[in-house]
Symmetry: C2
């Protein structure tokens, strides 16, 4: 089996080498002429100088009458001046100042004196209520320098300055070639071994946000000649080409070879995680980039390399993204081998903006959908301690982040359901919900990292739920529990219960899938093991930890395990049999300081609503008597 | 002349009344089905639940071989385990885990032992290097709640979860009807009295940024029946209608009457400045809004009212725009009659973020193009003192604002030219340039409001430029001047010099246009008046103050004045005759702390470049010997 090791060039070096090679090869933007009235968002090629003044004539700024200022000088409340029709001309806003007049009196200030005469009780000075020529823009003034983005108001200013057409930078066209034998177009019913091709959709969206236009080519199988033909076509038709997947150095990875054969590869392998197996090449003075197949790796390469290239095309400064300082919620280690991109969620509690690292897997696209920002850990940094101040690149507007209800704790789908109702009702805040188990909720609330969290903590001495834990960890009453739901925990097994599992101790004879330490369900598992006199080492799969009820159910349905503890609603989704084990109280632990927070109140309001009880009944396995 | 007074409803009341009336009338969003792979930026109607797991099968996470973990348990560096071909199956990344195996060893860790055998020196645990079913997404999990914006990664997650189509909120279609007898389509050669219609372009751009689609209807003259017909058509075709101009209560203002005749007007006149003469109405359950004709008034109404309606359509929270705290650079008074929208520029110097109010005229679109943010002054506030902390709504990303070279001082077009070269070279910062005259530069630099500023300050005692001022205002050497250019000041008069002006004292016989107090050119004017024994009161137009050389030239060209002092390049643009009066030194005053600032250095580098000297020669009237 062949394996070529990749280089591990530091990110900055890789960029520097690549960009200077590209510029030397002649890579640059082309331009086109655009009508200004459709050019919002475009970037102008050259400085825009006003062709005409705005206003380009002396215009009345009001509805009223044009007069000569000198005819009004003696007017006062005590001795009004009467203006006869020969002393004025009626004007509307925008009308040119009639010859011989030099100011305008607005209609509100006129006193009708009959026979077409008006009395006025205040004098005017010359040019009063006149928009003089050039008040806004003077002919010859530079309205905007080269390479300026046309905002809506700037388009208005250009038109006001008599510029109707302008040369703009052409939108770069980026060709995307998805590759791979196992790749299939999006479907809701893929076969085993078929991977749904969604990277091109992610790229297209990202490129559109950067001001580029994407052309997605058909999926090309892992055949060198087919990939080569696809790249040739794309290079001829586009300004930049991305080859999705096949960028590493494995058996079926042809990207690097293909680019080499058509042009040149400058970098293969960058010291960035995720994103290492990237290929930076050039064909016919156009960048051709091999993007790794794992979606998060791909996003990092697009975000770092492609985004830079698009910015250079428009000669705008990258990185445009704003950053914010936040406090890291937990220790985050990192390898000295890579610059690392850690997705984080952000939220403010008690005045402190916290950054919490999300799943770091390269294949976990949902770590990006949940991310509010990116923490870049430098290659020469081994990690960052909890509580350190870090700089985070923002993926969402701060306004949204500042208004976030943070729920950290035990997983239950009902939280998502409450969030859904809040969104439907147009709640003026968002909810960030993380699954870290019941003990995670205790930690997060006590550390000021969450407003609230779901808990179902069995006191194995008393058989009671939650109360003793709250008393222990919040002896001063700093946090309280509010009623949630009753729910049934049970053993989930394949439909028809092939192993004939009837009670908890039967898991000894099956492959078990466990929950993570600190989860309420894990505590229940350990309690039941203890009660049944079974040691963890007797359970096959005890060390296989999952974070949610549905993850446990999914593995049982897939046959990776035979049995696991979880709630009824999860078993129902996966059409599993469910053997009830106990009823538990799933409650919300809330920091007392936040009980009156409108976000917390709105959450609880939905939770206790009749509409929501109906939804819980649909999901099944919940009781709401309490 | 009829004049109906408008109401002056506080903004919040106007909104509340209008929005509740609209909702009562049945105003709400419609939906459509969209393919997820083209749905980036769209808003989903309902919660998205995963149809399938991702991965939906157990997939190899690496290129390598699938094995049984138990076959590897005894492997160590001391005693490698040999795996014969019956003990493994070759897999590539993404391949399904073959039946009977439970982990993958990556190719890099295999030692070829010949005959198809591999040695391994480390044990594996079950599920190692396997992406288990549901690792990223579990079937039945809510991927996103209702009314979520589809980001690129979220589109990817939906596709990964087997969702290929989804119901999204339809983009609201906003009809724009420009009205007015004097309005013409954009042109570079309008007649006197013709106003270039650019508001629809500004609206279209703003609406696009809000997620709405604009349809611009033909310009409709100020005829009630024509406007009525246009509104009927637009209401039938669009979700929301904007009637541009004619929204006040003057002779030719029909918007309110037309909406009343077709539906209902809820508000006519809002206590907001600019923006007061707005009409908030409804026809057939669709919002129909009369937008004031002045561009800045219009922008405020779109930004406040229309933006709210679009946000409600998408059930997103408005105001989405981030805010920032800044220190107000100068006292800003405001009327108790209105909530006021003050455009401000923002910049950070010496760690302090300052907000400087821009031109407050409702007709000055360039005040918006220059604005970095909006300071909203509450109706019950009479004004804000200089040095107060204020909250500013951001119009630009903070990253851009933080990297701003601030030049405040005397006007010379050469500053814009330097900025243009910097932009062409892709400088990683922007420049904010404000014209407040030479004394304004002294004030701004000494107050820490600018990095630098242009000055040409004549010491009327010595005839020398700049030095004595700098010594006086910066006795500790806190600021220095760096060489700029020599330039010629002179009298600008109409081509052919109809009044036969030959030297400065001849302005006594003409209508003069002056520069503002503090401008170097004003100081020169006052010096020359004094030297010639002329009193200001003897000069007609002495009190007419303009802020730039081109503004003075424009007024002379338009015939509003006969003569003014200014620089040669301005006279040249307007084809005016130019009578040289004196040579002066135009230099840059720079805060010493910022001399080494890369932005300042980059600016000076361009200024002193040969390329730039060529440009100055083209403009004319400059000398660069020094």
């Amino acid at each position: 089996m062949k394996y070529n090791y990749l280089s591990n060039l530091p990110l900055d070096e890789a960029k520097k080498e690549y960009y200077s090679a590209l510029i030397a090869s002649g890579y640059k933007a082309s331009t086109e002429v655009a009508c200004v009235n459709g050019a919002c968002g475009r970037v102008i090629k050259s400085a825009a100088y006003a062709h005409i003044c705005s206003p380009h004539y002396n215009a009345s700024a009001m509805d009223g009458i044009a007069v000569r200022a000198e005819d009004t000088y003696s007017a006062s409340e005590q001795s009004p001046v009467t203006l006869t029709p020969d002393k004025y001309a009626v004007v509307d806003t925008g009308d040119p100042l009639p010859e011989g007049f030099d100011c305008v009196i607005m209609v509100e200030d006129l006193i009708d004196a009959g026979n077409g005469n008006y009395n006025i009780i205040a004098s005017c000075h010359p040019w009063q209520n006149i928009r003089q020529v050039g008040e806004d823009i003077c002919m010859g003034d530079m309205i905007a320098p080269a390479f300026t983005v046309l905002t809506p108001s700037l388009c208005g200013a250009l038109l006001a300055g008599g510029i109707t057409e302008t040369e703009v930078i052409k939108k770069p066209v980026v060709g995307i070639i998805p590759t791979g034998d196992e790749i299939v177009s999006p479907t809701s019913d893929p076969e085993s071994g078929e991977i749904i091709e969604f990277n091109s959709t992610v790229f297209r969206g990202m490129l559109s946000e950067m001001g580029a236009e994407a052309v997605v080519y058909p999926i090309t199988p892992d055949k060198k000649d087919l990939i080569r033909a696809a790249v040739e076509k794309a290079v001829a038709e586009c300004d930049l080409v991305l080859i999705s997947a096949g960028s590493s150095a494995g058996r079926d990875d042809y990207t690097s070879d293909v680019i080499s054969s058509l042009g040149r590869v400058y970098v293969h392998g960058i010291a960035v995680k995720p994103g290492k197996p990237a290929v930076l090449g050039e064909v016919d003075s156009k960048p051709v980039i091999g993007v790794p197949g794992y979606p998060v790796s791909a996003i990092v390469i697009i975000d770092e390399i492609v985004s830079d290239l698009i910015s250079q095309w428009y000669r705008r400064d990258n990185f445009h993204r704003d950053t914010v300082k936040a406090v890291l919620s937990k220790k985050t280690v990192s390898s000295l081998k890579y610059t690392e991109y850690v997705r984080v969620s952000l939220g403010r509690i008690n005045g402190v903006l916290s950054a919490s690292p999300l799943n770091r897997g390269a294949g976990v696209i949902t770590s990006f959908t949940k991310a509010d920002g990116i923490l870049v850990i430098d290659q020469n940094c081994e990690g960052i301690e909890a509580g350190s101040e870090v700089e985070v690149r923002l993926l969402k507007p701060m306004n949204e982040i500042e208004n976030t209800l943070i729920i950290t704790g035990s997983h239950d789908p009902l939280i998502d359901e409450v969030i859904n109702v809040l969104k439907k009702n147009g709640a003026p805040f968002r909810v960030s919900s993380t699954h870290v188990g019941s003990m995670g909720a205790v930690y997060a609330v006590s550390s000021g990292l969450a407003h609230m969290g779901g808990i179902h903590l069995l006191d194995t001495d008393t058989g009671e739920y939650n109360r003793s834990y709250v008393e222990k960890y919040f002896p001063g009453g700093e946090a309280v529990t509010v009623k949630g739901v009753g729910r049934v925990q049970g053993l989930m097994v394949k439909k028809g219960n092939p192993l004939g599992i009837r009670e908890f101790k039967d898991i000894k004879n099956a492959r078990y899938v466990n929950r993570q330490r600190g989860a309420g369900t894990r505590i229940l598992c350990d309690y039941l093991l203890d009660k049944n006199g079974i040691g963890p080492e007797e359970i096959e799969g005890y060390e296989n930890e999952e974070f949610t009820h549905t993850a446990v159910a999914a593995l049982i349905a897939a046959g990776n395990a035979d049995v696991g503890l979880g709630i009824y609603s999860a078993a129902k989704i996966y059409n599993l049999d469910f053997i009830p084990v106990c009823n538990e109280k799933y409650e919300f632990l809330i920091d007392k300081k936040h009980l009156a927070d409108p976000m917390v109140k709105a959450f609880l309001e939905v939770l206790y609503s009749d509409e929501f009880k109906t939804r819980l009944d649909e999901m099944g396995g919940y009781s709401t008597e309490e």
